[in-house]
């Protein structure tokens, strides 16, 4: 087995008396889609925030591709290949869909202390951004202001933005949150096209999404990972069923 791309050891974060991450250990292999599930308040978003560099852990280490990235900021991690989508849609609402994605491309192509040439006209930014919008199904919507996109389209735009940074690891925080059934189906179908060539950590409440996408699942309860395994193993795990899954799996 090759070395894991992401290696988390003893990650601990508390907010006052609340222990949001309780010595979390996590290994994510290259190319794997690794779902993190758990009841509300289990600390999933806190975990993602620490992995993305938005939140400093109290204790523990995060290693990425052999490098200790625990002390690195979010932008520094992005440059090493982390990309994050947020639970609450985070886009540039006053820019068009294309400009949203172009900015992400720009952040990873050359430097941005350039003051003269209009960024909008740079082919090196436009064409990759266009291609990615096509990929996520927003090709026709590239000139629409992000604020005027439908909710599902905005979620897709956020995934496109993440992809545009050419990430090695995508941290997706509830990508189908608030979506209708049809939109959810389309998003799952799109994310499954990434399987294998992108490494993904997927936090999701939607069990259809989790069980159709995940290679492995970790279950987080009260800040602790109580089990990690294949979807079959997680379904069969008695402790997981008691703590969280309940009837949803039997259905």
């Amino acid at each position: 087995m090759n070395k894991p791309l992401l290696e988390v050891r003893g990650l601990t974060k508390s907010f006052g008396a609340l222990l949001a991450s309780d010595s979390v250990d996590l290994e994510v292999r290259e190319g794997e889609t690794h779902a993190v599930i758990g009841p509300n308040g289990a600390g999933k978003t806190t975990l993602i925030a620490q992995l993305a560099g938005n939140l400093r852990p109290d204790k523990g280490r995060v290693r990425f591709a052999g490098e200790d990235v625990t002390a690195l900021s979010a932008p520094a991690r992005s440059r090493r290949g982390f990309a994050r989508s947020f639970q609450i849609t985070s886009i540039y609402s006053e820019f068009t869909a294309l400009e949203n994605v172009m900015l992400a491309v720009q952040a990873h192509t050359g430097h941005s202390f350039r003051f003269w040439r209009p960024a909008r006209e740079e082919a090196a930014l436009r064409s990759p951004a266009h291609a990615i919008l096509e990929e996520v199904g927003l090709g026709e919507r590239s000139d629409v202001l992000a604020a005027n996109l439908a909710h599902g389209e905005q979620r897709a735009l956020e995934i496109a933005t993440a992809l545009a940074t050419r990430p090695r690891l995508m941290l997706l925080d509830e990508p189908v949150a608030g979506m209708g059934a049809e939109e959810t189906r389309r998003m799952i179908a799109f994310l499954s096209t990434l399987k294998g060539h992108k490494t993904i950590i997927l936090v999701e409440h939607d069990m259809d999404a989790v069980f159709s996408l995940a290679d492995r699942i970790s279950v987080l309860v009260y800040g602790r990972i109580i089990a990690t395994g294949t979807p079959q193993e997680i379904r069969a795990n008695a402790e997981v069923r008691r703590a969280y899954l309940g009837e949803e799996v039997q259905a």
Partner: protein, 310 residues
């Protein structure tokens, strides 16, 4: 050429005809008035870069007007009248002051940012008051205007007017290029959504600081123009009310637009001029006018003039 560019061009052409009409009607006062408007328009354009596009509510932008003016005044005080030297110092000194103020204040945001920029400017204001050598709170006269070795004579009102107009057009053009460049997109992105900007790999700090320094340098140039225009300088150039006026020009004219700060400077100074000829309590009228315009013209005067495309 789109409608917006056409209106902008027409506006600058109109400004170019002011000295002709002033001569025609024997009212040289208007050359003075519009030169003053344009100098403040340059200052407001520089503030717009950080306030409108960068989302940095600097409540101390008058500091750079003051630093630019003092750079010229102090050199002249010691007998250095070379304009190139004076204006270069005005730009360099205000850039340096902006670098120091920006380096500290940009680490904060929101109300803290506003208070820190205000505090720094008030420090400079009291520094100006305390230096007796340069006239203390009375300030000092600029006996000799900046000398450009025969190239242009600032004592010639019209020549000075066209120089200011040329600088205004240049600053507007460069500003327009800048906010649409890669650099401009980063500072606008950081204003629009900082978390997203960091997540895609930009650290906003160096870009914001660079924008802050550019804005300070341009405003320092406006200060050098202003001291030549008024032929005296006082610490009042740096008073916090002056910073407030610059903010009003940007907000009234339309934030994050090229024409907005120019329109804002025009409107504020012309209304001020008209009202002050009528009553000395003109600020009582100007205040509510500003409140109303902020309430009803969300996109400022530029929004009224250009519709939605700016």
């Amino acid at each position: 050429m789109n409608r917006r560019t056409a209106i902008l061009l027409a506006g600058f052409l109109l400004l170019a005809t002011v000295p002709l009409f002033a001569a025609l009607f024997g009212q040289p006062f208007y050359v003075d008035l519009f030169r003053r408007v344009m100098i403040f328009a340059i200052a407001a354009l520089s503030l717009n870069l950080i306030l409108g596009y960068g989302g940095m509510v600097s409540f101390g932008h008058a500091a750079y007007l003051g630093v630019g003016a003092y750079a010229v005044g102090v050199l002249a005080h010691y007998g250095v009248h070379n304009g190139y030297l004076q204006w270069a110092l005005a730009i360099a000194a205000s850039a340096l002051v902006a670098l120091v103020i920006g380096a500290v204040s940009i680490r904060t945001s929101g109300i803290y940012f506003i208070m820190i920029t205000l505090a720094f400017t008030q420090m400079l204001y009291y520094l100006g008051i305390s230096i007796e050598e340069f006239g203390g709170d009375d300030g000092m006269r600029l006996e000799v205007k900046s000398q450009f070795s025969g190239l242009i004579d600032l004592n010639n009102g019209n020549a000075f007017y066209y120089l200011v107009l040329a600088i205004l057009v240049l600053v507007a053009l460069l500003g327009h290029r800048l906010v649409n460049s890669r650099f401009g997109m980063v500072i606008r992105a950081a204003r629009s959504n900082e978390a997203r900007t960091r997540a895609i790999g930009f650290s906003p700090y160096p870009y914001r600081l660079a924008a802050f320094v550019i804005a300070g340098a341009v405003c320092g140039l406006a200060g050098a123009l202003l001291v030549n225009h008024t032929a005296y300088l006082t610490p009042e150039f740096m008073n916090w009310t002056r910073s407030g006026e610059l903010m009003f020009m940007v907000i009234l004219g339309g934030m994050a637009t090229t024409a907005g700060p120019v329109l804002g400077a025009l409107a504020l100074l012309l209304v001020e001029d008209a009202l002050s000829g009528w009553t000395q309590h003109w600020q009582i009228i100007l205040g509510p006018l500003l409140v109303l315009s902020v309430l009803f013209f969300r996109r400022g005067l530029a929004g009224l003039l250009f519709g939605k495309d700016e």
